[in-house]
Amino acid sequence: MTTVQDSTKTPSATPSKGSRFTGAVANYLDERTSISGITKELGRKIFPDHWSFMLGEVALYSFIAILLSGTFLTFFFEPTMTQVHYDGSYVPLKGIEMSAAYASSLDISFDIRGGLLMRQVHHWAALLFVAAIGLHMLRVFFNGSFRKPRELNWVIGFTLFILAMAEGFTGYSLPDDLLSGNGLRIIDGMLKGVPLAGTWISYLFFGGEFPGEVIVPRLYSLHILLLPAILVAALGLHLLLMVINKHTQYAAAGRTNENVVGVPIMPNFAAKAGGFFFVVFGVIVLIASFFTINPIWNYGPYDPSPISAGTQPDWYIGFLDGALRLVPPGLEFVLWGHTWSFNILLPMIVIGIFIVLVIIYPFIEAWITGDKREHHITERPRNAPTRTAIGAAGVTFYAVLWAAAGSDIIATHFHLTIEAVTHTLQALLILGPIIAYFVAKRICLALQKKDREIALHGYESGRMIRLPGGQYEEVHRELNDYERWRLVDYIDYKPLMVRPDARGRISPMQRVRAVFSRWFFEDRISPATRAELESGEGHH
């Protein structure tokens, strides 16, 4: 393992011509920009060497792929809804009346060299981008890497996730084909479902009755200007905070809350990361070269009357679509002269609450634990059983909504009735998270127990010996100190005790907090203590 200390090489006595030139250039730049300070700071930023720490980078690199391919697409895309007759080279749409946006998307696909590849790179990279963000967030959540001082970066990261979804959705709506129009129709329905002001909001958004003639140019401005600008700004802040807060790391011998062990950016990590960028880009281009994505030529121009079976949003909007599919019927009623569409409001409210809970989770947990310390050591998920269980419940909830977006495909491909699929998923939406919560928590506790057992008594070696007295015993292989460290170095929280404050009173807030704290930390396995380890070592 490379550590920080030995990364700088001592310069050779007589510099070669090349390095003298480099020195002169560096000096020239430094005297005018004082860049050496930043380079010193950044160049020695340490990256831990666990694969799960690379997921954010995957998101970053696919974002770069999106920016590059997207720039290419803007050269040829016409964001207007002016009606034209298609005269490109795709025979099944020849002469059909369509918007200029759709016609230019078809031209990009069929008549501009490399256009289809770029469109597919752009779209596949977008899917990978959001998927990598999702996985990255799960890593951060289950490792407890959102704890102080990183709560704000969690919020920024989640904002990036939302922005990425917004970018995805606006992009999905631009080609103005049947699929994108149907997606917008659902947005229109959601807007109109807002009580009292819904219809006005929809008219404002679409510039009149849906679909109108302004939505594509408006979404285009959002898609290529406003949203990317906010996204890049938030991304910059995200990375800046990452540098300021430094990376977290897994517990191991030699790793403390005060240091970071890993590879410095310069030169090792930069080389690895640069290569990794090209690998990610390569994977995207490879997929885009061989696999169709969003075959807009199949869908035809948007027209409010037709729809296609199997119309779904891209995967990251699926959970919203799934929520709409799972909502039980009969929730719409008229009251005080207004229609209250709870069939649309209920899913929106539930999803809204879910999203807010995820954003503020770091603050909730900090309040419950009352822990004001900084944490730079990554927690193994098993060592925070309640958090892991909450995460598992959240993932299950999301997954059920997500699966519901494909309910028709599930029904046809597994020869089920769509009603059975819907009803099963409705039940799972409620029961699934509860089951997942308890199962995950029990698994965590069991793993903690196993760790404790191994820390105290070593691994079972499978070798049986017979003692002189006739007793049989299995020989346990002792752990070395490095192995043991991993198993015992975690914080053992205890439920908060309710204690009177300075004025001798117990506030109701304290009581609530104690209840939550008991829920969080009641079931726990303490790590093996020094005393236990020392007495345990004599056993075998």
């Binding site: 995957v58 020849k94 002469g95 169709t292 035809g300 037709p306 079976a309 995967w315 009735t417 009603e419």
Partner: protein
């Protein structure tokens, strides 16, 4: 709740097959035949193969031994199968030619399987059924060549067919376990016959609704889709964003994670 709805469904099914209902239907059919006579003779029955008495009785024999259990000895229907008066030769050719009839089992809908009879046998049964009452005949070959207007066919397909069969003809789900099958590999003749007869859960698209030329255009569009692979590469079943999402999670992210594990692995 469920038992209630299933008994409801049973009552509905039984109601549909009530003998009196069949008779009423036949009466209505006969009454409307007068009006529809001109249309039927010009478009449907005109080009039907000459029905010889020999092949009709051959068809009747095949019918009696294979179909009559459900459709009745006189093809007037039983509780287990509808009357075949007026369904026409097109219906027989479609149902038996795609293997849907005879049914393997009573289910939400008859499913495609290898045909159980030769084309001669099917033709004979078709002639027998057509001889009972007038109905849509076997389509003229001139509509089936796939030389119609592909763009027009695509437009008509998207408006009339895509909501069940999907824009790429990949099929889709209907209620209660029924489904619109995939159209890839279906013969032009069967596509045409399905449109005029409305088999299983499909609505009828008669000649005033979609003219024979519209149907020929649709067939040409489907033929184009079948003959030309997706310009973008492997089409992942043309199922839309669901298969794309699965693909990127399993193969895209899978490949990338494999690489992350590789580059962070320590040398042994």
């Amino acid at each position: 709740m469920r038992t209630h709805s299933s008994t409801d469904a049973r009552r509905r099914q039984a109601g549909r097959r009530h003998p009196l209902a069949s008779i009423a239907l036949i009466t209505i059919g006969l009454l409307s035949t007068g009006g529809a006579y001109a249309l039927l003779t010009t478009t449907a029955s005109a080009d039907a193969p000459a029905a010889s008495q020999a092949s009709i009785s051959e068809g009747q024999k095949i019918f009696a031994s294979n179909c009559a259990t459900c459709h009745g000895m006189s093809a007037s229907g039983t509780a287990d199968g509808p009357s075949l008066y007026g369904v026409g030769a097109a219906s027989v050719d479609f149902q038996m030619g795609t293997g849907r009839m005879p049914l393997a089992y009573q289910g939400p809908q008859g499913e495609q399987k290898p045909p159980q009879f030769t084309q001669e046998q099917i033709d004979a049964v078709a002639m027998y059924i057509a001889s009972l009452a007038p109905g849509p005949g076997i389509p003229d070959q001139k509509w089936l060549n796939g030389d119609g207007n592909i763009a027009k066919g695509g437009e008509v397909f998207r408006i009339n067919c895509a909501m069940c069969h999907n824009v790429a003809g990949a099929g889709g789900a209907l209620t209660e376990g029924k489904f619109a099958p995939s159209l890839s590999g279906v013969e032009a003749r069967h596509v045409y016959e399905a449109m005029v007869t409305g088999p299983q859960n499909m609505p009828v698209f008669n000649d005033t609704n979609l003219t024979p030329q519209d149907k020929a255009d649709i067939i040409s569009f489907l033929k184009f889709q079948q003959d030309n692979a997706s310009p973008g590469g492997v089409d992942l079943g043309s199922l839309g964003p669901v298969s794309e999402g699965l693909f990127i999670w399993i193969f895209g992210l899978g490949a990338v994670i494999g690489v992350t594990i590789w580059i962070t692995a320590r040398p042994n």
